[in-house]
Every structure is written in C-alpha cells, then in structure tokens.
C-alpha cells in the first residue's frame, strides 16, 4: 500500500482529496488529509460579515462534511515535515510516512510583523477582516459606530485575494450610505502599491470607482508602525494617516510549519514550479493554493484551477510520465463594488484583466471589468457553488483551468 498525504483541509487540500479519491486505485493507495481545525470557513464570506450581509452561520461548516469517504481525516496539529525521510511528524508524536506529499497549508495573517499592530487596540480600533474573529469583531464595532475616519490599509504584498481590501472600501461606502451616515464617515484607502491594484488595466477602472465613491487614495505607503496611542499609521517616509477605525490587511505569511521544516522562503511560502506545481526541492512533494510562492493571486479560484492541473500531474508522476507544464496563473474574481453591483476580472501570469464576456464568448451573461448587478448576483451565487461544487471537486461547467482567450480583449501584462 502506498501513501498520499495532504497537509491542510482548506479550500485547496479538500479539493485535492475529492479529486484524488476518484483517481487513485483504493487497493494501491491510501489517502490521508491532516488539519488541526474542525471548522471549514468560507473565506470569501469574511468580506461580507462586517456589513451584516452574511451571518456567521453562512461562512462556516464542519470540515468533516467535505472530506470524502475513503480518505483518512486526521485532526491534529502538524509538527514537522521531514522531506529527507519522506515522513510527516504529528504533534502527539505519530509519524506519517508518504510516497507523495501535497502541501496545502495556506497563508495566515501575521500582524505581529508590524510594530503596534497587534497591540492593546487589536480588535478594538485596529481590525483585520481576514480571520473569522476579526470580521466578527468589526461587525460588532460597525453596528454601534457613530462615524469618523475609517482607514482601509494593506501592509505589504503579496496578500490573499488582492482585491478584497478595495471591495471592503466599496462595501463600507454603501453600508454607511444605507445607514444614512455616509457624511459622518471619511474613507481612506492606503496601499504600498503605486495604485489601487497590481495590474494597470484594472487599476484605472478601480481608481475611477474610488473617486466616484469619494474614497481617498494614499499610495506608495510602506508602513513602519501603528501608533495606537495617537490613532495613526506612520510609514518609512514619515507620512502619517490618522484613523478612528483602522481596518488593515496585515502581512500574509505561509504556515509556521513550513518555516519549522526549513522548506519556505522569507514569507514561509514553498518554492514551487509555477507551471507543474511540483516543489522546486523535492520531486515527490507538490504544493498548491496559498501555500506556494507562485506569482499568481492567492485566491480560491486559483486553487480551484490548480487542483485540476495538479490532479493530472500527480497521475502522471505516479505513472512515470513527464509532468504537464500547464498552469498559467489563471485567476477569476468577482469584485464587489457596493450598491448591489460587482465587476468580474479574469487574468493570468501574462495577461492583464480583460474586457469581454464570461464564460461564453460574446454572450456572457457576466461582463468582464464592467460594473453590473448580474456580476453581483454571480458573486453571491458563488457561495452555493463553493459549498456544493467547488470544494467537492466537481468541475464547474464552461470554466476551464487555463484561461480562454475567446471573446476577450487582450493586452499583455505589466505589473506596476
């Protein structure tokens, strides 16, 4: 009997378990998935939780519900990966030997990386919305807040879902408008980038929306510290931005397990081949989702596209065939723009977010890079798709793992 071990039962790991259970012969391969947490969160829902658009029940379910029969599910903390010995050491001392290892341990916020961020004001006037606890604390704060300066801030790139902070700013604009108190709230968007987003084409569209919604932009801001006593953030060039509520996206880092095992880069991400998803250092270890160092978005859609390609490559690896260099960095994201509308963007390693229609060329029904109600409905419908199709590894009809160039207007990618 051979062993395939998956580390992490989040979006990427759960999808891999569901794909592989149908592919690997049960009499030859044992599949094991390890995760210390019992709850599976619908992470895109954290964006909506602070604005009372989703309830807490809509964003979490028991993880075991999504692990298919025939897969061994171990709920325990992982102590160490021993790649030289092909073993994983668990917290209580048990060792799991593997023939193939898949790393899907994701990314976490690391607010302790910035002085003053995770201080006495954490979740009081300084919030994150990338954790369930942070999003919920913020919801409670917003419910009673009487207005003032709201600062939405990105610490450093890369971050999970790079558009989420912008969406947060847009939704905050609608939320306070609906509460009849938008005139009492100043919204400022602060980013280390030179513009609203990483890709110039989308940046132009998003900049326009920020201006329309009366949201001030502060760009090229590299935070040095949070002065929580005087309610301001300060950057290395001594620029100060005052706040009453700071909603920050802290530094994102891969799991500490990766650092403990000596397998990560500066930010604990696993160096991974960007086309095959095999790790750079070990041929029987693969990685996908937020845990890799790929220059693609850290997003569920990316993990979804990667999972389809990685499943094929694992089969090829087992059969001794060359791996397919197929992953193109395809990402596909809905961007909530507030007032019941959304944009949809589709891009990859080399192509800019494009205009056009999705998923059917020339038909839609979704419009790329244009605000519409249909896109917003698409985003809300996605929660159902996530729980019922995506993490179960059911292929989403008409959406391919690599990017389709049909019905889209292209421009080569430039990063800013």
């Amino acid at each position: 009997m051979k062993n395939l071990v998956i580390l992490g039962a989040g979006t990427a790991g759960t999808m891999m378990a569901n794909h592989l259970v149908h592919k690997l012969p049960h009499n030859e391969w044992k599949i094991t998935i390890v995760d210390q947490y019992k709850t599976h969160y619908y992470q895109p829902g954290f964006l909506f939780l602070p604005f009372d658009i989703y309830t807490t029940d809509q964003v979490k379910k028991k993880g075991s519900k999504f692990i298919p029969k025939g897969v061994d599910y171990i709920q325990e903390k992982i102590e160490l990966i021993k790649p030289q010995e092909n073993k994983v050491l668990l917290e209580k001392g048990d060792e799991l030997p593997y023939d193939i290892l898949i790393i899907a341990t994701g990314t976490k916020i690391a607010p302790e990386e910035v002085e003053g961020m995770k201080g006495p004001e954490w979740h009081k006037s300084v919030f994150d919305f990338y954790t369930y606890e942070g999003a919920k604390a913020l919801r409670d704060k917003f419910r009673e807040w009487e207005g003032g300066k709201l600062v939405v801030h990105i610490t450093e790139m890369p971050i999970k879902c790079p558009v989420a902070p912008l969406e947060f700013a847009f939704l905050a604009d609608s939320y306070f408008k609906n509460k009849g108190m938008r005139d009492k709230v100043d919204i400022t968007f602060v980013t280390p980038l030179g513009g609203a987003f990483t890709k110039p084409k989308a940046t132009a569209a998003l900049h326009h929306l920020l201006t329309d919604k009366n949201i001030t932009e502060v760009t090229d801001f590299n935070i040095e510290r949070v002065d929580y006593e005087n309610n301001k953030i300060i950057d290395y060039a001594d620029t100060e931005v005052p706040y009453d509520i700071l909603v920050t996206v802290p530094t994102n880092m891969g799991d500490a397990l990766i650092a403990r095992s000596g397998m990560g880069d500066d930010l604990n991400y696993v160096p991974t081949n960007k086309a095959t998803l095999q790790t750079e250092d070990y041929e029987n270890i693969f990685a996908l989702g937020d845990a890799t160092n790929l220059p693609a978005s850290k997003a569920g859609s990316v993990a979804h596209f990667e999972a389809e390609i990685l499943t094929e490559n694992i089969m090829r690896y087992i059969n001794g065939e060359p791996l397919k260099e197929e992953f193109d960095g395809h990402a596909n994201c809905f961007i909530e723009t507030g007032d019941g509308k959304a944009l949809l963007i589709d891009f990859n390693y080399t192509h800019e977010p494009v205009e056009g229609t999705f998923p059917f060329p020339g038909v839609g029904p979704l419009n790329l890079l244009k605000e519409s109600r249909m896109n917003h409905m698409g985003k809300l419908a996605f929660r159902w798709i996530y729980w019922n199709m995506l993490i179960k590894g059911i292929h989403i009809p008409f959406v391919s793992a690599t990017m389709s160039e049909k019905g889209k207007k292209f421009e080569e990618s430039k990063s800013i």
Binding site: M157, L193, N222
Partner: protein, 102 residues
C-alpha cells in the same frame, strides 16, 4: 524606446526602466540618479550592488527582503532614495521595476 544617456543609447520602457540590463554601466546609473535628483555616494552604490546581485540570482526584490538582508535599514534607505526607494533604486540599477506580486 531609445534614450541617450552618458553618450550611450539605451532602451527603456515608458517609465524609464532599462529593458536590457547588459546596456547598464556606472555612468548610466549616475545619470539616471541625477534625473531623479539623487547624487550617488558609496552608500548608494552599495545598495545598487545588492539589488543587481539579487536580480542576477533571480530573487524577487521587496522592502521586506532589504530589511532582512541587513544591507541597510529601511529608514536610511528612504533617506538615500527619497520618495520611492525601491522604485528609484531599481531604475538606477538598470533592473526591472519590482513586481509587487498579485
């Protein structure tokens, strides 16, 4: 597009970053720095050396990486290249503007 600097013709992108590192030399770096209002000193060149070394090793450049490298502290980096230190330093070094990742 082509640009003439320090008696040499170099190719640059619309923002002014060299598109071919092999065309770079110290005189060109000095001229680009002048255009950015920076007078180069040994301290500046130490950073440029570091950036070019990382570029050759194909390692991504970031403020975090520079902080960790110990080559300079970030405050001093801002003092040497006021405004956008990494953007300006990479332009002077003749390497592409760092991708901020997506």
């Amino acid at each position: 597009m082509d640009k003439t600097l320090a008696h040499a013709t170099i190719s640059v992108d619309p923002e002014g970053y060299l598109t071919d590192f092999s065309q770079w030399n110290k005189e060109i770096g000095t001229e680009i720095a002048k255009e950015q209002g920076i007078e180069m000193t040994d301290k500046h060149w130490a950073i440029i050396d570091y950036i070019q070394q990382k570029f050759k090793e194909e390692e991504p450049l970031s403020i975090r990486g520079i902080k960790k490298s110990g080559v300079i502290d970030i405050k001093a980096f801002y003092d040497l290249f006021p405004g956008g230190p990494l953007k300006k330093a990479t332009m002077i070094a003749g390497v592409p503007k760092p991708k901020s990742c997506i």
